[in-house]
Amino acid sequence: MSALARSRRHRFAPMLLLAFALLVVGGAYTALAPSSAQADALDNADAGKGEALFIANCATCHGPGAVGTDLAPSLVGVGPAAVHFQVTTGRMPMQASGPQAEAKPPQFSEDEALDMAAYIATLGPGPSIPTEEQVDPALGSAPNGMLLFRVNCAMCHNAVGAGGALTEGKYAPSLMNSSPTIIYEAMLTGPQSMPGFNDATLTPDEKRDIIAFLMEQRGTNPGGLSLGSLGPVSEGVWVFVVGLGALIGCAVWIGSRSS
């Protein structure tokens, strides 16, 4: 019996074979899955359930069939990305009326958000939820993202995305905790006062570069405490509160040990 034949009959052989087969299938799945995540995301979603959720929670403002009312705009054609963004950041369903719909802890699970997104998608075509690969920071170029971010976003969101004020009580929020998908969807759909950046203004690759840049900001800060990344004003406050405060304290101490 040849060595090969003998090893084929080894009692571990079936198990090895099984492991190998699993590896191949798993590998194939992970290799293929990202590109079909979009399809998957909405494939597994149930537009019917989404419609029910919509009627129960959203129709009061957006109207039956999402055609819009005096209170809220029509959602026909806004696309699944807008719904996913608005619902998973907790902006929708909107509650208090203020200068802008605030992000809050989301009321619906990811699956429910996808169901509603699937329902809105049936009403008319619109921007779709990005795939894993489209938002993978590892595939983007942070330096290019930095250049793009400065030109397109920093005037509202601050140089590193710490947020900033707009007129009339509106503001551009901090991007420090936004997930890559949310960042992508925000660019794609342009929520409220934010302009939309369609694929002609910022190509999908450029959007990914911006995501890479923003993710790069979240590592440790080389200089120490970031003090909110708010720039010179917070630095000025700190120099008075911490620095000069401590030194004047010392001066009082030195002065008190005398007369």
Binding site: A159, A165, G169, N221, G224
Partner: protein, 570 residues
């Protein structure tokens, strides 16, 4: 009471031979003994607020030390380079930028200790100006600028202006977006000056903004010219403090003719030397743990860019605020010339007024009091009510400008509307100083009244007694001489009584007009006043205060003291 004698005791101690030999050597050649004896005799009054100037001094030393380190690695050039692909930070790899910016990044990420030095340098800069301003406030509110120290006030004021320039030029060197924005504003301000503005801008930038000249020029100004001037003025400043002697707070035995304090050597020198290390330590700690001006966040300068939260360092924030406060509609075109009042007023006129007030104040006050006496005993701020009120009103304007400069951050952090804040601040800039002035003056005058009260009737003790015939009274504890000295020693100015503008026959006399203005100003300053207790009043109060059972202060001495310390000028 003057402690000149304390130093004599220390000279007797045994000294190690090498030290003695060295001192002897120097003594024979440069007369060191004379110098040391002089210094040891020199007295320095002790008070924590006299250390504020020292914080500025030590921050300046730290600035120079860390700055020397930075010059070794910084390249003041606007030549375009590509940042290396393999260098940190990741976000800058391969990006096109000026050499100045690239060398700043290199300094921050690849030079050992470079980022620490950068951060120490920047914190020290903020601390330098901050402590200088606080020091100046001390000098202002205590009246330390009065004769003979007006000149030293001017020297200090010049250093303040120079240090703002040092900050502005230093801030511009890294050539990042934020510093470029600062230069852009500078350019706009220069251009707003009528007629010569555009030419001046070309002169500053060596052509159209930003050009390629400005960073090398700023560099020369920042590391050579401005620090050199500050250093020279600093030497003059300290020499004048030394020569004119330091002022002292009012207290027992302290008059305009003596100095009560500790000898410069060794007590004061030891304290001051120790304080240097404390300042250095605090700045080093801040540099090590708190990031400041992280230029890689802003990226290389590009004239087309602005980001949210773009502000200058705090000492320039009032200018930014002034610009933000000004309504934008005030730009006119006259015969083809643009008159940008929307920039000229906030960025040239407003700071011009603020700084003129600061620089000229000692002379203005002197013109009003017509006081020719020398003052070495400081004022308690409450006793110079109008000055104190003017100072706080000034500060309130400055504060409104600071808040306006940060209005976007105020909006986001307090959930307010940017437009509403700006509107409110536009009103406040006019209303607040008036309110603050009135309130401060009232507070000062009531504190003076309280002082009178306490001197005449003593401290309230909270003990209530009942007399045999059923009356109630509260026991008051009379002040001791030390406490009383502080409360009665000051001089009270009265409004000038100048002859009227016209004589009895209605003829105008020369100088009548100026005197008229002076009389009015003097009335503004000194109309409302509270007279300190006179010895006679005190005696009267004490004679009918016999129901206070606690013993009164020794009679004779206090009356003499009082008489001796009452104001002496004109």
């Amino acid at each position: 009471m003057t402690s000149t004698t304390t130093s004599a005791a220390t000279t007797e101690q045994a000294v190690p031979a090498p030290v003695a030999a060295t001192v002897d050597y120097l003594d024979r050649r440069v007369g060191l003994g004379f110098a040391i004896r002089g210094l040891a005799r020199k007295l320095f009054p002790d008070h924590w607020s006299f250390l504020l100037g020292e914080i500025a001094l030590y921050s300046f030393i730290v600035l120079i030390l860390s700055g020397i380190f930075l010059t070794m690695f910084f390249v003041p050039s606007m030549a375009e380079v590509h940042y290396p692909e393999n260098a940190l930070p990741v976000t800058m790899q391969g990006v096109e930028m000026s050499e100045a910016f690239a060398s700043t990044l290199n300094l921050s990420f690849h030079v050992r200790g470079g980022l620490l030095m950068r951060q120490i340098h920047h914190w020290a800069a903020l601390m330098f100006v901050g402590s200088m301003v606080v020091h100046m406030l001390r000098v202002f509110f205590t009246g330390a600028f009065r004769k003979p120290r007006e000149l030293n006030w001017v020297v200090g004021f010049t250093m303040l202006v120079l240090s703002l320039l040092a900050g502005l030029t230093g801030y511009s060197l890294p050539d990042d977006v934020l510093s470029g924005n600062g230069l852009r504003i500078t350019d706009g301000v220069v251009r707003s000056i009528p007629i010569i503005g555009a030419y001046m801008s070309y002169m500053v930038f060596g052509g159209e903004f930003p050009g390629t000249e400005v960073i090398p020029r700023m560099f020369t100004l920042h590391i050579l010219l401005i620090p050199g001037l500050i250093l020279a003025l600093l030497a003059l400043h300290l020499f004048l403090v030394f020569w004119q002697k330091h002022t002292q707070y009012p207290g027992p035995g302290r008059t305009d003719k003596n100095v009560v304090g500790y000898p410069l050597l060794p007590v004061y020198t030891a304290k001051a030397g120790g304080f240097f290390f404390i300042v250095f330590g605090v700045l080093a700690l801040m540099g090590a743990t708190m990031s400041i001006n992280s230029v890689w966040n802003y990226g290389p300068f590009d004239p087309a860019l602005v980001s949210a939260g773009a502000q200058p360092d705090w000492y320039m924030l009032f200018l930014e605020g002034s610009l933000r406060l000004m309504p934008g509609q005030t730009e006119f075109v006259i015969l083809g010339w643009t008159l940008s009042l929307n920039v000229l007023i906030p960025a040239v006129v407003v700071p011009g007024l603020l700084f003129t007030f600061l620089g000229a104040y000692p002379f203005v006050e002197n013109a009003i009091t017509k006081d020719v006496g020398e003052h070495h005993v400081l004022d308690r701020p409450r006793n110079a009510a109008t000055r104190t009120a003017l100072g706080t009103a000034f500060l309130s304007v400055f504060f409104v400008l600071l808040v306006t400069g940060a209005n976007d951050l105020v909006a986001t952090h307090f959930g307010l509307s940017l437009n509403a804040i700006t509107l409110v601040l536009r009103v406040l800039i006019f209303v607040l100083p008036v309110v603050v002035f009135i309130v401060t003056k009232r507070v000062c005058l009531s504190l003076q009244r309280k002082d009178r009260e306490v001197v005449l009737h003593g401290h309230e003790t909270g003990i209530v007694r009942r007399t045999a015939d059923g009356r109630f009274y509260e026991v008051h504890k009379p002040l001791d001489e030390y406490e009383r000295w502080v409360r009665v020693g000051h001089h009270v100015y009265r409004p000038l009584e100048l002859p009227p503008r016209e004589d009895a026959r209605g003829v105008r006399r020369p100088g009548g007009r100026a005197d008229g203005i002076r009389t009015r100003l003097s009335r503004f300053f000194f109309e409302d006043r509270v007279e300190p207790v006179t010895p006679a009043e005190l005696a009267a109060a004490q004679s009918h205060g016999e129901h206070d059972e606690l013993p009164a202060a020794p009679e004779g001495s206090s009356a003499a003291e009082l008489a001796g310390t009452r104001g002496t000028s004109h």
